[in-house]
């Protein structure tokens, strides 16, 4: 297995919480040879930064953004020591080394577990497109009811459990109710989807459609929870209408 250091895959701007202070660091990436890659389930590393603590100013990499696509190519990012960061040299050794991985592979064999329902890349993109159309339709419905500040965020790279977030502001509880019911009706008629989530209007009403989650806030709540900041790395989807 060759170990390459890759600075390219992770543009600096997309790394949350890590590059606050100077030193550029490289990430060791283990590149598996293609024939082996089919058989291997990488046991690689991702350690997410726990918010808001910053570990060692760069020892851990948030690899969430690129992993979805790159996993298909069986690449892994090891949290292994960031060689160029002076802070990581003497850092705590909760970071595992490549040697340890090699040992584990030798000891237990290469294939540990493989999930059998990982879809091919094209099927995934189709699903995304479907969810996107649903998300945009929901945002449109919300704008018809005069919701404020509608945002559609593509959170799939950040979060595994859903694809899109829709965040909207309603200015009164009856309006929240209205937005909620309109979105539900539209979902049921056009897309045949049922929402889990709040049935009674709430100052933060959430409609969970599986791959699309709709958040409807009252203005003070929206400021309080500040989800846009939390998911600041998600790409904003352009909406074809004025909100």
């Amino acid at each position: 297995m060759e170990i390459k250091s890759a600075l390219l895959l992770l543009p600096n701007s997309s790394l949350p919480f890590t590059t606050s202070s100077g030193p550029l660091f490289s990430v060791h990436r283990r590149h598996l040879n293609p024939p082996e890659a089919q058989k291997l389930l990488p046991l690689p590393a991702t350690k997410l930064n726990s918010w808001p603590v910053d570990h060692n100013g760069g020892g851990y990499v948030s690899s969430s953004l690129q992993m979805g696509r790159s996993l298909k190519h069986q690449l892994s990012i090891s949290p292994g020591p960031s060689v160029f960061s002076p802070m990581a040299l003497g850092s705590d050794t909760s970071v595992d080394t490549d040697d340890m991985f090699d040992d584990l592979f030798k000891k237990y064999g290469k294939v540990v577990f493989r999930s059998s329902d990982q879809k091919s890349a094209t099927a995934d993109i189709d699903d995304d497109a479907e969810s996107l159309s649903f998300a945009v339709a929901a945002a449109k419905v919300a704008s018809e009811v005069k919701a404020g500040d509608i945002r559609v965020l593509f959170v799939k790279p950040l979060v595994y459990w859903t694809r899109f977030f829709i965040i909207a502001t309603a200015f009164s509880r009856p309006q929240i109710d209205a937005i909620g019911t309109k979105i539900r009706d539209m979902a049921e008629k056009q897309f045949g989807r049922v929402a889990a989530g709040d049935s009674k209007p709430n100052s933060w009403t959430l409609l969970d459609f599986g791959d699309v989650v709709v958040h409807i806030f009252l203005p003070p709540q929206r400021a309080f929870y500040n989800l846009e900041e939390f998911y600041g790395n998600a790409t904003l989807i352009e909406l074809p209408f004025e909100s």
Partner: protein
């Protein structure tokens, strides 16, 4: 590292998994049937705050509702996966199931979403413990044991997982 696996019951102490500035909690009651004994992940419990950061809205000896998000008692899933955390932790909620805190720390199990606590999940940075099905990346786990029935015990961050 805890050796006992107990579920949450009255008098149990829990940690706080959000940034609501409480520190140590004690369970006094479990919401549900009248003499419900134990709480697991996703159950709402009544808590008295034993220790809190001073001068914050949540004060010591205040009685509040919390949702259990992590337990030392293992959580079993239908696909055979067993998840066990290193601590017992809970998140403060109000009567409408809204979180009072703004961010959730630590791993959160997928079950919370199915129990209609998607809000908690959406405030959690580390997402939920990825089931093998939906995870988009693979967590590194240090294999600690090889169990006799052909499964492995894997240690992830603060959790054990038995595959």
């Amino acid at each position: 590292n805890r050796l006992q696996n107990d579920m949450i019951q009255p008098q149990s102490h829990l940690n706080v998994a959000d940034n609501s500035r409480a520190r140590e909690l004690m369970c006094i009651r479990i919401i549900g049937a009248s003499n419900r004994q134990y709480a697991h992940i996703g159950d709402v419990i009544i808590i008295v705050i034993k220790e809190a950061v001073p001068n914050m809205p949540l004060e010591r000896s205040k009685v509040v509702r919390f949702v259990v998000v992590r337990t030392c008692k293992e959580l079993k899933r239908d696909n055979g996966m067993i998840i066990r955390y290193d601590d017992n932790a809970a998140v403060v909620i109000d009567q409408e199931r809204n979180c009072k805190g703004t961010r959730i720390f630590g791993a959160i199990a997928r079950e919370l979403r199915q129990l209609h606590f998607t809000k908690i999940v959406s405030l959690a940075l580390e997402g939920a413990l990825p089931g093998m099905k939906e995870q988009k990346w693979i967590h590194e786990g240090l294999i600690t044991d090889s169990l006799p029935n052909g499964m492995f015990r894997v240690r992830l961050d603060n959790e054990d997982l038995i595959l």
